[in-house]
C-alpha cells in the first residue's frame, strides 16, 4: 500500500444557514479499507456523504487519489470512481431491475446518438456488454434479483431487495470507493447478517474500498477495520471497534453526559 490515502478529507466544513452540519472534520481512508461512520442522529454522517459526492457545498479539502473533488458536479465525482447508495432508498422505481443497473453504467460507456440511430456494430456490442455486466452484478446477490425479477419494475421489490438493488446500482458505476448509507436499515436480523457477509465480499471480490454509515452495532463490529464517530458535526473518535466502543466521549455522545462518571 502506498503512502497517500485513497480518500483524504481535511478540515471539512458544511454549513446550512447558521448550522454547522460538519465542523472541521479530518478523515483518511486507505485503499482496501472498510471504514464505518457512526454517531447519533443528526451527527452529520449523511452530510459527509453528500459533501464527498458534491450534493452539498463544502469548505475545506476532499482529495480522492490525490486530486480534489471539491467544485466538481455529482456526475463527475461518480466518474472519478466514487459511488453511493441512499439512506432512504431512491431507485428509479418505474424502471426495471435490469434497467436500473444498466443506466448506472452511463459514465463508463460512450455510445451516443449516432451509434443508436445507425445501429452500428460498436453500438450493439456496447449494449450487449452493458447488459452482460448488469446481469453479472445482479448475480452477486444470488437468485434474488435475476430471472423474472430482471424485467420487473423496481417498485414491486421488497424492501430488502430494494436495498440490494441500490448497492448493485452503485457497483455498476464501477467505483473505487463505495459509500453505503445504512445498507441494512429496516432489514431483519437474517437479512442483515447476510448483507454483512456481502459487504466483506464486495472488498475481496470486487476490490472496492468501502465507507459505511450504520446504526446496527453488530454489523459495524463485523465489517469494519476502523470506526469513525461523529457527533454534532465533529469527529470525536477514530480507531478499531474495541477502542471506540470504550471511548468515554463516544459513550457520552450516545448515552448523554454523566453516563461515564457513574
Amino acid at each position: 500500500m502506498n503512502g497517500t490515502p485513497l480518500l483524504d478529507i481535511r478540515n471539512l466544513t458544511v454549513e446550512f444557514g447558521g448550522l454547522r452540519a460538519l465542523d472541521g472534520v479530518d478523515i483518511q481512508v486507505n485503499e482496501g479499507e472498510i471504514v464505518s461512520v457512526i454517531g447519533p442522529n443528526g451527527a452529520g454522517k449523511t452530510t459527509l456523504f453528500n459533501a464527498i459526492t458534491a450534493s452539498v457545498e463544502a469548505d475545506g479539502e476532499i482529495l480522492f487519489e490525490g486530486e480534489t473533488l471539491l467544485g466538481l458536479d455529482p456526475n463527475q465525482v461518480t466518474s472519478r470512481g466514487v459511488a453511493r447508495t441512499f439512506q432512504n432508498v431512491r431507485l428509479f422505481a418505474n424502471m426495471t431491475v435490469l434497467e436500473n443497473v444498466m443506466v448506472s453504467q452511463h459514465c463508463r460507456t460512450k455510445q451516443g446518438t449516432f451509434g443508436a440511430l445507425f445501429y452500428t456494430k460498436a453500438f450493439r456490442q456496447e449494449e450487449a456488454e452493458i447488459r452482460a455486466r448488469a446481469e453479472m452484478i445482479l448475480a452477486f446477490f444470488g437468485t434474488r434479483l435475476v430471472g423474472f425479477r430482471l424485467d420487473q419494475p423496481a417498485a414491486v421489490l421488497s424492501y430488502a431487495n430494494r436495498r440490494r438493488l441500490e448497492i448493485a446500482r452503485a457497483m455498476a458505476t464501477q467505483p473505487k470507493l463505495l459509500l453505503l448509507d445504512e445498507p441494512v436499515a429496516g432489514m431483519n436480523p437474517v437479512e442483515s447478517a447476510e448483507l454483512t457477509g456481502l459487504i466483506g465480499r464486495l472488498r475481496e471480490e470486487w476490490g472496492f474500498t468501502i465507507v459505511v454509515i450504520e446504526h446496527d452495532m453488530e454489523v459495524v463490529r463485523e465489517v469494519s477495520d476502523r470506526v469513525i464517530v461523529l457527533d454534532h458535526g465533529v469527529m470525536i473518535a477514530d480507531g478499531d471497534y474495541e477502542e471506540v466502543s470504550s471511548d468515554p466521549r463516544v459513550i457520552e455522545a450516545y448515552l448523554g453526559h454523566g453516563a461515564t462518571t457513574k
Binding site: 458536479d73 463508463r108 440511430l117 444470488g142 417498485a155
Partner: protein, 605 residues
C-alpha cells in the same frame, strides 16, 4: 360559497338520492352552459341522421344520457351501504337524474321566453328558444325537455344494467352511426376513389347527414358484426402477446408494414380535401413526435415548442425563397434542409442551455417565454430586414425532388407523401433512441434527476440532447410547412400551436409513439389544428372549448392518454399498480424463505 349552500341542502336529502340530486343538478348546469355557448344552434346545420337528429341536438341530448349511465352504475363499496340500491332504484334514479338534467333546459326555455339577457350573454337568442322548443312554442319546449330528459335517463340507466355483451353491441352501433356521419366527407371521398358512388347516394342525404335507411342498415350491420366479432379481437391480441419474442416481433412488423402500405395507397384513392387533411395530420404527428422526445422521454415540460417549428420555417424560407428580403441564396429545398438541421441544433442548444438548469414549473414558464421571444423576434422591426416583420416572406417555392416533380400546396397528395417520409424518419429516431443508452438516461432523469446525476449521468448534456433532437424534428415540421403553405408569417407561430401540440401528446399518450400518432389523428383529424380545419368543420369555433374539456376529462379519467406507455401509466397509477401486482401474487414481500441466508447467496455467486 354556493358550493357550501349546495352541500347543506344536499345533506338534508336521504343518502341514496343525494347522488341523483347532485349529478342531476350538475347535468342541468352543464346543459344550460352548453346551450348558452352557442354550440347547439350553430351546429344544428350539421345533420347526423337526416330528418331527426343534428349535431346540435347531440350536444345537449348527450347530457341526460350520460347522467342515466352514470346513475345506473351501482355505487362502489356497495357492501358498506345499509340499503344497497336495487335495480328498480337505479333505474328510478336514472330517470330522476335525466329529468333534472333535462329540466335545466326547460327552465332555460321559460327564461328565454320571458327575459332578455342578450347583453352579457350573446347567445341568449330567439334562435336558441326556437331550437329548444322545436318551433312549437314555449310550453311545448318546457314539457318536451322534461320528457326527453327522463326518457334518455331511462335509456342510459337500463343500458347500464344490461349485460356487458349487450352494452358493447349497443355502443358499437351508436359509435358506428355517429362515426359514419362525422366521417362523411372522408367516406364520400374514399368511395368516389374506388367508384362506388351508388353506395354513398343511398347512405347519405344530398345535403349531408345519414339517411334514415342508411343509419338503420349501418346500425344493424355493425351490431351483427360486433355480436359475431366479440372476443375475437381480444383473443387475437392475447395470442400475439403470448407468442415468444422473435415471433411477436415478426407479427408486429407485419402489422406495421400493413399500415404503411395502407398509408401509401390511401392518398391515391381520396381527393384533394382529404389529402389536405391527411397532410395536416401528418404535420402534427411529426411535431408531436418531436415534442414527445422532450416531454415524453426526457420529462422536460416544454411549453414553447413552437419556437423550433418557427425557426425551421423561417430558415427554410430565407434559404429557398427568391423573395427573402436580405439574403436569398435560393437553395433547393433538400440542400436548405441540411443547413436548417444545423440551425435547429444551434437554436436547440441556445434555448436549451439557460433553460435546462431549471426544474419543474420554472422550466415550463421559461420555455413558454422563449416560445414567445422567438415569435416576437421574427415579428420585430429590428429583424424585419431579414424576415419581413409582419409582412412575412411570401411566394416560396415548393420542394423540387431531383427535378422530377415539385411538392407544394397545390398538390396535397405529394405534400402528404413528403410528410409521411419525414414521419417515418421521426418514428425511427424515437424508436431507436428510446432503446439506447441515451434513452435510458432520459428515463432516469425523468424519474429522479438528482439520483440520476449521482449515478454518473451528466444530466445537463442528456437533457440538452433531448432538446436538440426535439428541435431538429420540429424544424423538419417547419420546413415542410413552408413548402406546403408557400409563405411564413409570425402569426403562424402563436403560443396556441405549442399548446395544441402538447395537448396532442398528452391526449394520445406521453412517451408512446403510437399514442402520439393516435392523438394527432383524433384531435387534428376530427377537431382540427390551430388554423387547419378538421372533419367537423362546424366545430372550429368551439375547438378550444372542446380541447379544454377533453383535456380536463382526460386528466380525470385517463391521465396516461389514449394509448399509454406502460411505464408512464405506472408512474401515474403507482398505488393501483402495486395493488394489482400484490393481488396477482407478483409482489416481492418477503424473501427469507428457504433461499434466504448468506450461505446460499454466497454459494451461488
Amino acid at each position: 360559497m354556493s358550493a357550501t349552500v349546495l352541500n347543506t341542502v344536499l345533506r338534508r336529502i336521504p343518502g341514496t338520492w343525494r347522488r341523483v340530486v347532485r349529478l342531476g343538478a350538475l347535468g342541468a348546469v352543464g346543459q344550460v352552459f352548453i346551450s348558452l355557448s352557442g354550440m347547439p344552434v350553430r351546429l344544428d346545420v350539421r345533420e347526423i341522421i337526416v330528418p331527426i337528429l343534428s349535431l346540435g341536438y347531440v350536444t345537449v341530448l348527450a347530457v341526460p344520457l350520460v347522467l342515466g349511465v352514470l346513475l345506473g352504475r351501482r355505487p362502489e363499496h356497495e357492501e358498506f351501504l345499509e340499503n344497497p340500491p336495487g335495480r328498480r332504484d337505479l333505474v328510478l334514479g336514472a330517470i330522476a337524474g335525466g329529468l333534472m338534467g333535462g329540466g335545466g333546459l326547460s327552465v332555460l326555455a321559460l327564461l328565454l321566453a320571458n327575459f332578455d339577457l342578450r347583453d352579457p350573454l350573446i347567445n341568449w337568442s330567439p334562435q336558441l328558444l326556437e331550437f329548444l322548443s322545436f318551433g312549437r312554442g314555449t310550453a311545448f319546449g318546457f314539457g318536451i325537455w322534461l320528457v326527453i330528459g327522463a326518457g334518455l335517463g331511462l335509456v342510459g340507466g337500463t343500458l347500464r344494467l344490461a349485460s356487458s355483451r349487450t352494452q358493447k353491441v349497443i355502443m358499437t352501433m351508436a359509435l358506428t352511426v355517429v362515426g359514419a356521419a362525422i366521417l362523411e366527407s372522408l367516406v364520400v371521398d374514399l368511395v368516389e376513389g374506388v367508384s362506388l358512388e351508388a353506395l354513398v347516394e343511398w347512405m347519405y342525404a344530398p345535403r349531408g347527414g345519414l339517411t334514415l335507411v342508411g343509419a338503420g342498415v349501418l346500425a344493424v350491420v355493425s351490431g351483427l358484426l360486433s355480436l359475431v366479432g366479440q372476443g375475437r379481437v381480444k383473443n387475437m391480441q392475447e395470442r400475439i402477446q403470448a407468442m415468444e419474442g422473435p415471433r411477436q416481433t415478426r407479427v408486429n412488423l407485419m402489422l406495421i408494414a400493413a399500415v404503411g402500405v395502407v398509408l401509401v395507397i390511401l392518398p391515391l384513392l381520396v381527393g384533394k380535401l382529404t389529402n389536405e387533411l391527411l397532410a395536416n395530420i401528418g404535420l402534427f404527428v411529426l411535431l408531436a413526435l418531436g415534442l414527445n422526445i422532450v416531454v415524453g422521454l426526457a420529462g422536460i415540460l416544454d411549453l414553447g415548442y413552437v419556437a423550433f417549428f418557427a425557426v425551421g420555417s423561417y430558415s427554410t424560407a430565407v434559404l429557398t425563397a427568391a423573395t427573402s428580403p436580405r439574403i436569398a441564396p435560393e437553395f433547393p429545398w433538400f440542400v436548405a434542409l441540411i443547413i436548417v438541421i444545423f440551425i435547429a441544433i444551434l437554436v436547440g442548444l441556445f434555448i436549451g442551455a439557460p433553460v435546462i438548469r431549471m426544474r419543474g414549473d420554472y422550466l415550463a414558464i421559461v420555455t413558454l417565454g422563449f416560445g414567445e421571444i422567438i415569435r416576437l423576434l421574427f415579428l420585430s422591426d429590428w429583424l424585419s430586414g431579414w424576415f419581413g416583420g409582419s409582412q412575412g416572406i411570401t411566394a416560396i417555392d415548393g420542394v423540387d425532388v431531383f427535378g422530377l416533380l415539385t411538392v407544394d400546396g397545390t398538390n396535397p397528395r405529394r405534400v402528404f407523401y413528403l410528410v409521411l417520409f419525414f414521419c417515418a424518419i421521426a418514428i425511427y429516431i424515437s424508436w431507436r433512441l428510446e432503446r439506447s443508452r441515451l434513452g435510458r438516461a432520459w428515463m432516469a432523469v425523468r424519474e429522479d434527476e438528482p439520483v440520476a446525476e449521482a449515478m454518473g449521468i451528466n444530466t445537463v448534456n442528456v437533457k440538452l440532447m433531448a432538446f436538440v433532437v426535439g428541435a431538429v424534428l420540429g424544424s423538419f415540421g417547419g420546413a415542410i410547412f413552408v413548402a406546403k403553405v408557400g409563405s411564413v408569417f409570425p402569426t403562424s407561430f402563436l403560443i396556441l400551436v405549442s399548446i395544441i401540440i402538447l395537448v396532442v401528446v398528452i391526449f394520445g399518450g406521453m412517451g408512446n409513439i403510437f399514442g402520439v400518432i393516435a392523438g394527432a389523428v383524433v384531435l387534428i383529424g376530427v377537431l382540427g389544428g390551430p388554423k387547419q380545419p378538421g372533419l367537423l368543420v362546424e366545430f372550429s369555433e368551439f375547438k378550444l372549448l372542446i380541447y379544454g374539456a377533453l383535456l380536463v376529462w382526460m386528466m380525470l379519467a385517463r391521465p396516461e392518454g389514449l394509448i399509454p406507455s406502460a411505464r408512464r401509466s405506472r408512474e401515474l397509477h403507482q398505488e393501483e399498480f402495486l395493488q394489482d401486482a400484490w393481488l396477482r401474487g407478483q409482489i416481492d414481500t418477503d424473501d427469507n424463505g428457504p433461499d434466504g441466508g448468506s450461505g446460499t447467496a454466497g454459494a451461488e455467486a
